[in-house]
């Protein structure tokens, strides 16, 4: 996808306007997965604003966001960083085409103690 189209895709599917960010850093202050993200939430918003989507798509951190919505809840400007991260994640997944897991691949990935909810969620979020 072209660079401009990527930016539009991320903005449209997230429904977030990154320009509302006033760079206060509360998202980054509140993020429980801070250590696991090479681009911290406030940087993430800034990078979307500046169109560095491809760089974000290659980052590992997008798979470590917990979707705990703490940044969404506490952001004073209603920016919703988690939705931007999800949108970038989705951009990656959509570029991969139909490479879904096959049913026979699944059992070896499983921990039988895990609740189903976690398994479904994890597979849905991380079809990377």
């Amino acid at each position: 996808m072209k660079q401009e189209n990527l930016i539009d895709a991320v903005r449209d599917s997230s429904g977030v306007n990154p320009r509302k960010c006033m760079k206060c850093g509360k998202c980054t202050a509140t993020c429980p997965a801070f250590e696991a993200m090479e681009y911290h939430p406030h940087q993430f918003v800034d990078m979307v604003e500046r169109g560095k989507i491809e760089q974000l798509m290659q980052s590992k951190g997008i798979w470590n966001c917990l979707s705990c919505f703490a940044c969404v809840e506490r952001c004073p400007r209603n920016v919703k960083p988690a939705q931007l991260i999800e949108a970038v994640r989705l951009a990656v997944i959509r570029q991969q085409g139909m490479n879904h897991l096959k049913p026979e691949q699944i059992p070896e990935l499983l921990n039988p103690d895990l609740p189903q909810q976690a398994i479904t969620s994890a597979f849905r979020k991380y079809r990377k």
Binding site: C24, G25, K26, A29, C31, Q43, P76
Partner: protein, 663 residues
Amino acid sequence: MMHRIGVFVCWCGSNIAATVDVKRVAEELGKQPGVVFATDYQYMCSQSGQELIQSAIKEHALTGVVICSCSPQMHETTFRRTVSKAGLNPYMLEIANIREQCSWIHKDKETGTEKAIVLGRAAIAKVQLNAPLKAGETPVTKRALVIGGGIAGIQTALDIAEAGYPVDIVESQPTIGGKMAQLDKTFPTLDCAACILTPRMVDANQQENITIYAYSEVEAVTGFVGNFHAKIRRKARYVDETKCTGCGLCTEKCPQKNVPNEFNLGMDHRRAVYIPFAQAVPKIATIDANYCKMLQEGKCGVCSKICAAGAIDYKQQDTFVEQDYGAIVVATGFRPISMEKFDEYAYSQSPDVVTSLEFERLMNAAGPTSGTLLRPSDGTHPKTLVFVQCVGSRCSDDGRGKPYCSKICCMYTAKHAMLCREKYPDTDVYVFYIDVRAPGKNFDEFYRRAAEEYGVHYIKGQVGKIVPEDGKLKVQASDLLANEQLHIDADMVILAAAIEPNPTARSLATMLTTPMDTNDFFTEAHPKLRPVESATAGIFLSGTCQGPKDIPETVSQASACAAKVMGLLHKDRLVGNPCIAQPDELMCNGCSSCEKVCPYGAITYADKEFRTFEGMKVRRVAQVNPAVCQGCGACTVACPSGAMDLKGFSNRQIMAEVDAICK
């Protein structure tokens, strides 16, 4: 008589001319019936623009003028004066608003020009039906009412009183002084708030032109500029103000000891009978009926027994004062917002998380800890303090916080941090900020001093979460410049809570029919040129009721407000609005419909004799009191026979505008 109308199209520099072809507008409007002269000019409101209008009036014997320019709210008064100097009645003028409501909102020149022509046509159609009007005059009551007795209200009242006019201050609390009385030191000079405020309070008390109604509320206001009438409720103190000497004995002997002390924001206790603080004005005790055993259960009476002056009166009732005023000043002030919606900062979970105003009391010699900074939870000396800025300020409009900058927090936080380091050099002080805003005189120097000389750690970033655990406050924050997440074990956290208008302001605005903005701050008549007047004539704004302000700004605005009030009170008579209701007595059948809808009681009835084809007959007809009518027009629509009409906005005039627009 056919009017001779002149049309003047203003360019307003490029404000209008950029999107409206002013030449074409003038040309098109020049062709309208009745128009004998049409021209355009760069700035109609300038001296030469006004002279252009005046000479055209004389040269072309104009009887009506249409000016296509900015909003009438901007320059209607200016242009009325202009035409009147050229000998025309000031009400033979109509303004077509082709700036705010045309050139500024349209980008396409063709569209803008077309619309401007239609708006001009409507104004021409209206002015054809204008009649010369003469405004009536009303006397001015030379007395001012100041609502709110904080530093803003006190300053305004003192200035007005010193100019020789009587002023009444109505304050809802038992003492005047407001929020400033609760402050410890003031930035950027670090002089003590009480030392500069309390002499002012005493001045207000002693100034013979000032009457202080403390522990009172404005109940109702009627009337209009120069002629307001207010009803003031004096809440029962259960103490006779004329007898109480303020000795304070009752406040020491009252057995009800556990009443949260609002002056110290609930961080310590007072008795059920109390004087808020030592320098209170008036220094009179008040019994808190919610806690007084005598008033609640009918037994106790200790205060009554020990009061040597015999001032205690358990049977006291609320009383009312009614008074006429020429001007009303709103000085209702602010309060910090509730921290309820920001509990990620654990305000409700730990007493060691405090707001800045609470911190102010904790540092104050008259505060709950007598000025020694101690942790509220265990009374120990805090070592690590974290200040959080912008709590609830600069939030987007989602109901959690306020969209505006509260303006004072950066500076008082610098002050707190500095005082803290000065008094307790063993402390570690962190300030988390988004931006440090210090644009006042000596403000930036002050903030820099906190960082440079006092070693306050200023960290650009915000606090995300505070977790009280094992006697510490675990602060999780961001350091944006280092791109790190910080974890600090703090002993105390101080939240710079956003400020909001006093919650009673909304109902007061309704009572005074004064506009407010979406944040419940009172709206000034013009953001630059009329900052201390409200849009409602005779109502003035002083202090933070109009928007966040620090003390120097509040005081200068308060004095400016006083100057405006004095300007009004100095006049003996006020020229009213001539656009008032007028009945056509021949059509009026005296049905009383108009009287019922009039909000001012301006309509009365008189029996008058009329000549009819059956001879003279006496009929009851409506009469409008021109001094009382405000010209809303409610009666004109209620009138079933169409007898009542509004001068300047008559049925025919409005319909002519409708016709011109729909043509």
